[in-house]
Symmetry: D2
Subunit: 305 residues, 4 copies
């Protein structure tokens, strides 16, 4: 089986390697010609020459590049060909894009991909949405990418279901990370447990909370016992936000996931406007001292109004 693969960054590059390792043919395209197998998208499509299968193109590009790539692919592909979006797309965009391509008879599959830098070695978990027959056609590719064993792949439903499942996966991920993070902070603050990294390490077997994220937390603590070398600054890539928004759409309470998202927002603020308001109100009613913005150590005298 052969496929085109658009985007050969950290994820796409490793995926090309893993698919090739399984014996499939990959024609990769990237704007970086040093790593690209084709000069442009047209060249890539032209090099897909198998006559016993539809042309298949896996798109693995940043969110903002997906629509331009799909627009161009719509011109280059033909009825019956298949496009897979493996990026971090919002599931609502999948439905729109699927309809766009369907005007030319091109099939669309959305595929949420998890695994990060470990995927090349361990395999990528795949959550796919699309029609049964199309998913069936693509199984050799999914099998090449997914981990060995019985887990790591699900055909979650129609178009959009793959990215929806991946979105929920990431929402869950936010809250699990927050759980370990809160536990870490409490252990560090209490100073009763004398060896926090060893405690996390001990939890890796026999406990209720053993997990892959725990293993990673232990790796990080072994490198930097108190995480002194790292700032408490966490980006978010969209899925956490979409999870909370989807929950709101369906009136589902998600307090732990929302708390995790808000903690990331707060981590990126130099100062909190909300807490400025709290400090200002406290000063107004109680004459509580406030700290001036300029000098962190300077407390303005209580002001009575």
């Amino acid at each position: 089986m052969e496929l085109g693969l658009v985007g050969l960054g950290r994820m796409g590059g490793n995926m090309r390697e893993r698919i090739r390792g399984a014996g499939l043919t990959v024609v990769g395209f990237d704007h970086n010609q040093d790593i690209s197998d084709a000069t442009d998208l047209a060249d890539m499509v032209g090099k897909l020459t198998a006559t016993d299968q539809p042309k298949v193109v896996w798109v693995m590009v940043p969110v903002q590049a997906i629509d331009p790539v799909l627009t161009e692919l719509a011109e280059l592909l033909s009825e019956g060909d298949i496009v897979i979006d493996g990026g971090n797309s919002r599931w609502t965009d999948d439905i729109r894009r699927s309809e766009l391509l369907s005007h030319k008879g091109i099939k669309f599959v959305d595929c949420g991909v998890s695994g990060g830098v470990w995927g090349l070695e361990n395999g990528y978990a795949l959550m796919c949405g699309g029609d049964d027959d199309i998913i069936e056609t693509l199984m050799p590719i999914f099998t090449a990418l997914k981990p060995e064993g019985e887990f790591g792949f699900v055909h979650a439903g129609k178009v959009g279901a793959g990215h929806f499942a991946k979105m929920v996966h990431n929402g869950i991920e936010y809250a699990i990370m927050q759980a370990y993070a809160e536990g870490f902070e409490l252990l560090e603050a209490a100073e009763i447990v004398q060896n926090v990294p060893d405690t996390f390490d001990s939890w890796r077997e026999g406990t209720v909370i053993r997990s892959w994220l725990l293993d990673l937390m232990v790796n990080a603590l072994k490198e930097d016992t108190h995480l002194d070398k790292i700032r408490g600054y966490a980006d978010d890539s969209g899925e956490g936000r979409w999870t909370v928004e989807a929950a709101i759409d369906h009136a589902v309470p998600v307090p732990a996931i929302a708390a995790s998202l808000f903690a990331r927002f707060a981590s990126r603020q130099e100062d909190s406007p909300a807490m400025k308001a709290i400090a200002a109100m406290r000063n107004q009613f109680g004459g509580h001292a406030v700290k001036g913005a300029e000098d962190p150590s300077y407390a303005t005298p209580p002001i009575k109004h």
Copy 2:
């Protein structure tokens, strides 16, 4: 009626003035002799000479000073005399202290006091706990302190009930302040509403959210439109913590009050250990760049393990 008043700081000093303004006799004591009416506690008690009432002493001192003062008063007072704790005591301490004094037949009343720097002029809201007859005896003092009109005083129950009511009052206060603070931050961030102070000001009549705290928020915004001069740093004085702890004791969910308390904790951190852990885990699984602790603008390159 006459009373001794121990502690003439920001609260106690104003309370002395308000009680005297109502025609009662106050013998105040403070370690600062410039403002004290007595040289020590014994002198203060000695100056309580009314023969038609028990000796009454109102204690208005910082939390850590209450027990020493009560211990000394237990020596100086006699059976039937009354001690009122008007400080920010935890209600569980009231019960202990009441028992201590009862060994000598001294009566104890706990009184939560709200009003801050505005109390001298507007009156202090009082939440009292103690026996009916003792509260009855003290009503001239409470009447002097409380606001005019029908509100501002409650005999909440037995000893401890006053500080419990005050504790819950403050827990509610935390969450109301957080409500306005979150609204403020959102209005500032969205930049759609062009005049945030005017918007808050408009809410002072006709809306569902009009309140005294809103008035104070408007005062603060009129002085400093974007609160540029103030840091987002908020202390907590104990009652918020006790409220959440009491809620946990009674299995009562208090998500908004707890969120408000945690926001204050976070406001006082230079960096968040929990978010360091989040950043460390993200780096481990995704090769996500982390920010170094030293230089806020420096992002270490993705590390693959």
Copy 3:
């Protein structure tokens, strides 16, 4: 000045009365002919005959009816005429609707209205978005509706700003209500404070948490001391959801408002699917007894796997 007023329900009907009370001319239209001043929208517009002002139509209809009404008004009105949407619209819809009407030269103003059933007597708080000159033209109407005194009206910014300000107002409202609600539940659960309604009543003067919502809470407690006659079931009308979504768009942490929204979601569930999952996992790892869905009192025996 004269205006058309579409929608004479609980809000619109009272607003007609208040505007007329201020001496303005109102031609109201409602599908309920018993209360309508016109047979249909065309009739209503036809009855606007003042020659010294543009035609002005205030739309006060349920959210789902706004677009059909605006579409019909676009046919009936002319260049320079003005439409005001006073409903609970999402601010993003304002911008779309404003553009629609602008094709015919019709001006659009969005106006968030607060006040509920008390507005007829006390006045309605108004938060408006639109061009300066249009707002200026409409001031006699706003002045008729708003409370007396200096507060209760703001020209918040361009089109959309009015409903955005109202949305944030409601988000704040959710969290303030949650604050009192959590305090009420704790006081009821602890049973230390012997008279909860009196305690709330006492807070109405001199305290930091005095507010109009507190007054209403007291009213409710006076009618039904323990709220025995009411179910813990709370709808939400959209603004709370939009507030959290807007906060997410701007990366603003809103933990208290989100907690309040989630509490409402949970209040409407017969049983919590999330807590079923918690119970199921606990049973799996600890052999903790679970309760069967059929019989609330039936605990299935621990199951070991």
Copy 4:
């Protein structure tokens, strides 16, 4: 090596079996004589006859039984003997108990035990607090109980550190379970993902969120696809509460763990007093219909005041 083991319930009974399986001698005592190796505590201690070691007694009883057992053991044991509390004790109690026993020269070790019904087969994770030499003496017992391999045991620090570590472990556990639970509820509500159990199953390899709790969640879903047979009712065993309280003591924000705890509290309420208050206030200001307590489907008519 030999030890006495007090309490042969679900945990203690399995632990006796596992320790014996490792070749150590266990004299178990339980009030249930059918499973007990001794008639009473004195008999149990009398049967500890090894002369080359101090007497060692592991206490594995419900929380309320620990103090009576320790009091009796204090009479039966001698200087240099060792008592281990393996129950779900609060770490602050450890310190008190250790001091009590130290008056007779008896050594105390606290040991948090995780593993539930799976521990017999997989081993128990152990988190211990106590002096180095005592822990060293006890290592053969710990080695018998813990999982094979390098993980599952930590000497966390002085007395109290073991239960503190276990407490934090459980706090983390609460939030991780809540994470999966929220994801489950959202997937069920959205109905986009057509096979929720398969989706959870797929996550067991290659994803960021793979864990032992996920495996258990899959087990539960395979038995009962929509968890129809189980009620959304979750007890809590204390550690979650203590974690939040410890966090409050140290001013550590724990929003996700607290949210998880509050969700459990709410799951046990027939109706929410807080949401009654919300409904009551909404009715007061907006004439919003409320639901009567008696008949869930009955909405009282709007009331205007």
